[in-house]
Amino acid sequence: MGVNPNREFCLNITVKEDLIHILQEAIAAIQQKNTRLLSEVSNHITHCASIFQNPEAIKTAIVIYALFKIQDRGITINDGIMDLLQDGLIQVKKDNNQAYLGTLEGIFKKISKMDEKLALYMQQVINEAKIKKGMKLYQHGISLAQTAELAETTLWDLMDYVGKTKLNENVKDVVDLKRRLAYARKLFQ
């Protein structure tokens, strides 16, 4: 695996290696109809995404999570999507990041059109994938607005989702509630 001397157009080597591994695992998981593996693969790439925050890692996490949800529902992932995943793998190996992002967009489009009766469900799957993967970034410590931008979702949707989790229960605060309230009262009363 060579390294393109124009590093600024390349993914960080760790991310590139990770993406290749993950795409290979995802393709295998889909072929074997191994839903659990597909879920694990999606979680792994999200870990990288928090550090490197590049669109390739984040979009890959979203796509794989969406495919996991589809497969989990018992829906067969069609050959068109598999072809795009294989194509994506080739693009990553060749350092064609724009082309790779294009194949991911292609997969989103194919997912939306997979089943006319399930069109709304498929859109919901993609939206949910964006929010779920965004939540992982937030859990890692990235701010909500930054997470919303990276996961291409809205702050409104993220806040709605994060509120229903326990992610905010373990937040450490140096300013305790009493002190914060005492300050607020001075301002308003």
Partner: protein, 243 residues
């Protein structure tokens, strides 16, 4: 920096929390009580009015925020000095923590624009519901510990940038939509939710309303813990001498 009438600067989160819980109306009476200005930034306006206006799901909420801007209950402010300071703060904040040789971009332009605006206005208070921006102002070391725990790897800290940010924000205090709701309660603004005769049916109805509102804020994304809600309710019970 300008010396101006006292002011609060709002990040997007508290406005979203209040909108989702139908509590935006509180801002007008709270502002009267505050006797100062409430400011938002262009990024906040984009997030809470423009973007949701073009969605189906949050269009109605956007249309409830917009009149507050029209009536100057929320004043939008922009200035070249704010833009410059935003870029500075963003550059600093997103080059404090490093993992695997990569700077971790922990905050967004919009969040730093709110900070920059607070500094420009020489205001002491910013209203932020989300955790990371709040920790950046109050104790950035907490973010490092959190990142290490969650990423399962060492996180390097650029102390120079960390100390620069701490120096910039040292006079800033953070409030959440939570504290605004509690103040509204203590100002009796929430009495409007008590219908005639309700007190006889639901004992301590006022406290139940406050409890409901706090849970509403929490469940819609305010960084508020369950134990904090309990603490607030106990505090208010004691204040009102309710068992």
């Amino acid at each position: 920096m300008l010396m101006m009438k006292k002011s609060l600067v709002f990040d997007s989160g508290p406005l979203i929390s209040l909108a989702i819980n139908n509590l935006l109306w509180l801002l007008e009476p709270l502002k009267k009580s505050f006797a100062g200005e409430f400011y938002i930034t262009p990024a906040v306006y984009e997030e809470v009015v423009k973007k949701p206006f073009y969605t189906k799901r949050y269009k109605f909420e956007a249309l409830q925020v917009y009149p507050l801007v029209l009536k100057n209950i929320l004043r939008s402010i922009e200035h070249p000095a704010i833009r410059k300071k935003t870029e500075e703060l963003l550059g600093m904040a997103n080059k404090i923590f490093k993992a695997q040789g990569n700077w971790i971009h922990i905050v967004h332009y919009g969040e730093m624009e709110a900070l920059a605006t607070a500094l420009f206005l020489n205001t002491e208070t910013i209203v932020v519901d989300e955790r990371t921006t709040r920790q950046l102002i109050e104790d950035p070391f907490l973010i490092a510990k959190h990142l290490e725990r969650e990423l399962h790897m060492p996180v390097d800290i650029n102390r120079e940038n960390l100390l620069k940010i701490k120096e910039e924000v040292k006079n800033l205090q953070v409030l959440r939509s939570t504290e605004l709701a509690v103040c509204a309660f203590e100002l009796d603004l929430l009495q409007k939710y008590v219908a005639p005769g309700e007190k006889e049916v639901i004992p301590n109805i006022s406290i139940e309303i406050l409890d409901g509102i706090l849970w509403g804020l929490k469940l819609n994304g305010c960084s508020l813990k369950e134990e904090e809600i309990e603490e607030i309710i106990n505090m208010e019970r004691q204040r009102l001498k309710i068992k």
